[in-house]
Symmetry: C2
Subunit: 331 residues, 2 copies
Amino acid sequence: MATIQDIADKMGISKGTVSKALNGASDISETLQKSVLETAVEMGYTKLRRQKGAAKKLCILTKNIEYEEPHQFGYEIILGFRQMAEPAGYMVEIVPVTDELQKSTPYDVFMLQNNYLGAFGLGFSLTDSWMKDFQTSRTPTVLYDNYIIANPNIAYVGIDNNEGMELAVSHLKQLGHQKIGYLSSSLESHIMQVRHKAFFRALKQNGLKSAPTYAGSSYYITQCMEKHLPRLLDMGMTAIICSYDLIANAAMIQCQQLGFHIPSDISIIGFDDLPICAYTSPPLTTIRQDRIQLGKSGYYALDSLMNKISIGTLLLHAQLILRNSTGPVSK
Amino acid sequence: MATIQDIADKMGISKGTVSKALNGASDISETLQKSVLETAVEMGYTKLRRQKGAAKKLCILTKNIEYEEPHQFGYEIILGFRQMAEPAGYMVEIVPVTDELQKSTPYDVFMLQNNYLGAFGLGFSLTDSWMKDFQTSRTPTVLYDNYIIANPNIAYVGIDNNEGMELAVSHLKQLGHQKIGYLSSSLESHIMQVRHKAFFRALKQNGLKSAPTYAGSSYYITQCMEKHLPRLLDMGMTAIICSYDLIANAAMIQCQQLGFHIPSDISIIGFDDLPICAYTSPPLTTIRQDRIQLGKSGYYALDSLMNKISIGTLLLHAQLILRNSTGPVSK
């Protein structure tokens, strides 16, 4: 790792100035501090020397994910993470990440600036600019549902979507379904791409016919309902798997408006098991992502990375939760 | 969970006899003890009440894997596991598993009989009869390089073979190679199937041509060298990836005997990074499985399962180790 002298030499400034900038002294301008930090990161700096007794800090980076209320998706993920991290002596800070922050500050610089030892990132999409920084980052970082190849400092945690789709498809097959369709939101996120592939893989493994037209995806749920759902119904699908619960709920409502009875005319399966699934009409059969366990395994993976055990992928078992939106195929 | 009374009722024997059998009392015949344990397992028993102060025991099950000497494949995996488990207060026993044991004793019965709280299984093949037991086992169990679907008590740990193949193929592509072949041992093990698929996936992702004839697999290395290696050379392959290091070493020797120079005529890549790879002629470029880290992550996964965090898959990042068996394609 570079020394303070190396950084000073490279920047043509004094050692004292570098040291002050790294320690965030108030008589150094923000611009100079940032440029020292950026140089330090370029030269391989990953940790500042912490003052004795200073808190060990981790952060949870949030983007496009709601987490403040118990019924929201991120709430229990964050809870599970804290349940492991805090007893282990870490302070955990939640940092909502804006596009501006990502554009103005390289990821490792941000982490160094704030003295975070590691991060758990929730909700990043493929278009976020830090996704590029993660490819070469030297900071231990765990991403929920995002995968970065060949960087030993970054791990991916999530549930096993292949297993989830296999459970959904084989459940429908056991009920006699042969024509199964799939509705998804836009394929611009890693996880929507994974589930889309997993759907076709599961059809194949179960010996069921498939064609690209068996799946439909749109950015907005309403578009998906108008454009793809009627098409799948016209094709004679007797069951539809949806890439997440809110699409499944919209599909159930739309089918019922079109005069289809669920599950006697058509079976619907969701994905995630949001708290609402028990209260939809009918209650929704779905694939559970256990969010407390996701949060805990996020901490497990981060702890491993910080101990130089370079986990790349950690997938939780998926679970099929049977409710009333699936039934035997109608004769 | 069933009570001792339930077991006694089901078997038509006294509660006292069941209790003695479960505690391994010496005045109970072995046959009766076994039949009590089998009934207990059937009825959902997973743990015996341990005497206060008794050691908490885990086991490492070994099958078809050498581990006694530092240069053998299993040695560091076991070491890494113990480095985590023993400081956490577990006694770790190594249990070589025979076919006879698997046939005579159901897996959960064996674990209960020996008071093991969990296991790390190394080297099982798809034909081992306990592989079937794992599908329904209630005992927390981590399998190295074997995957069991939809049982929340079983986890798979290994390295990310897709990432490894991607690193190997893109390294060769950067060196100008366009025709890359693959040699493998028999596809009767889970991991050989995974690597075989990963090879074709990596060719596709790198925009390289492929056909089923680009790969050859045989049970014995000598067969593989006689049957498939000359075929791949005749097809004009300029590089060959091998499913593990010993095949790669045999391929290098065979190529040299046929008058090919390595790497100027043909590049060879192995898989695993066994200690021998630094000493082959030439030293072998390969994909590393870090075995200490594999052992440690085996413990991580087992600890999670015992804490009801149901990890299904834990993959370590693969690493490409560059030595002298790969070079630019000859013009």
